[in-house]
């Protein structure tokens, strides 16, 4: 794995995930650890957050990726589904409307890797005012700093 580089993960709606998987980023290994999550109407915020950051059982996300796989995961394996905790992920692509649901988790992420990129979705165009990175950049300058 060290030789081949890092992965690009994606958390998004069906079209976004399908598109980027077509681009060739998908990984689903023997242990059923995907680097993508298809967010549908019944996907809970907790599932999204769990996938993105914290501990938790995410059977829903596995079912989205592989409907034939329903075995509950081992707790030891769950950690490796958390994209932020995986050291083999370099970039996380996330639809901005989904990023809004877990904004607190995104804002808490201060490391340079994995980099988090917010992308638009079909129903929700990209809004620069909501982007975590640009909001931090906007807070760089105050009136006093520019004197």
């Amino acid at each position: 794995m060290a030789g081949r580089g890092k992965l690009i993960a994606v958390i998004g709606d069906e079209d976004t995930v399908t598109g980027f998987l077509l681009g060739g980023i998908g990984e689903l290994n023997k242990n059923r650890h995907p680097n993508f999550l298809v967010v549908e109407k019944d996907t809970t915020i907790n599932e999204i957050e769990d996938t993105f950051r914290s501990l938790g059982s995410v059977p829903g996300s596995v079912a989205e990726a592989n409907p034939s796989q329903h075995d509950p995961p081992l707790w030891d394996e769950i950690d490796s589904w958390q994209f932020l905790n995986r050291d083999d992920i370099g970039i996380i692509l996330i639809n901005q409307y989904i990023a809004e649901m877990v904004r607190h988790a995104l804002d808490a992420h201060q490391h340079s890797i994995p980099a988090v990129l917010e992308i638009p979705s079909k129903e929700h165009p990209y809004d620069a005012a909501k982007d975590s990175i640009l909001r931090r950049a906007r807070g760089m300058f105050t009136a006093e700093d520019l004197r």
Binding site: T18, L22, G24, S112
Partner: protein, 209 residues
């Protein structure tokens, strides 16, 4: 010029040495000038990066939208349920990987690398000899190497052109995503450098800052 960037130790104190007082304040003002110049340069670079980021974002958004449109056309041609998670392979290997390099401490650059890309097959005789008329000779070594399976194959053998266009759009999007991630990282790094320099300047010139 390095000796002009004065450490805090040479800052003038309240009951400071009168003889050296003038030279110390000169050091401080020279150091402050250097810091200001560095701040200006960093600020300009940051603003340039932000502008570049905005441009690349617009292109990424356009590519992704093109990809969705092509996917919709492919669905129209193949059927609504023919392009979606139900077609995902049970075993996937990434064709695209990311190379992350660290230029300076905290400053990372990302580059998308396509794995399993083979050089175009050489057609024709390998040696300067007459071509055999019995037909093309097989090259078993080349054919035995396994490349990651093209995700297009998940959707069938003959896929519509719109699906290939969608793949191309999202592939372009991945390249742009790597560039944007590099820019974001550079902006974050520049932001922390800016804060550090502003703090130093405030310590050198508490009144002016």
């Amino acid at each position: 010029m390095k000796d002009l960037v004065c450490p805090l130790a040479v800052l003038p104190t309240a009951g400071g040495d009168k003889e050296g007082g003038g030279s110390e304040s000169d050091y401080v003002s020279m150091a402050a000038l250097d810091l200001r110049a560095e701040l200006d340069s960093l600020l300009l670079q940051l603003l340039g990066d932000l502008e570049e980021l905005e441009g690349k974002r617009a292109v990424l958004n356009a590519r992704v939208e093109e990809g969705w449109l092509s996917l919709a056309k492919a669905r129209y041609a193949m059927g609504t349920k023919s392009v979606g998670p139900l077609q995902y392979a049970s075993h996937m290997e990434p064709q695209v990987c990311l190379q992350a390099s660290e230029a300076q401490e905290g400053l990372r650059k990302f580059k998308v690398v396509r794995s399993g890309v083979h050089a175009p097959e050489e057609v024709g005789p390998r040696e300067a000899a007459l071509r055999r008329r019995k037909g093309p000779t097989k090259t078993p070594e080349l054919q035995s190497s396994e490349a990651p399976r093209d995700p297009l194959n998940w959707f069938g053998i003959l896929v519509p052109h719109s699906l290939r266009q969608a793949q191309a759009s999202f592939w372009d999007g991945l390249q742009l995503a790597a560039d944007i991630a590099s820019l974001q990282n550079r902006i974050d790094w520049g932001r922390s450098q800016l804060r550090g320099l502003q703090e130093k300047l405030k310590q050198l010139e508490p009144g002016a800052a």
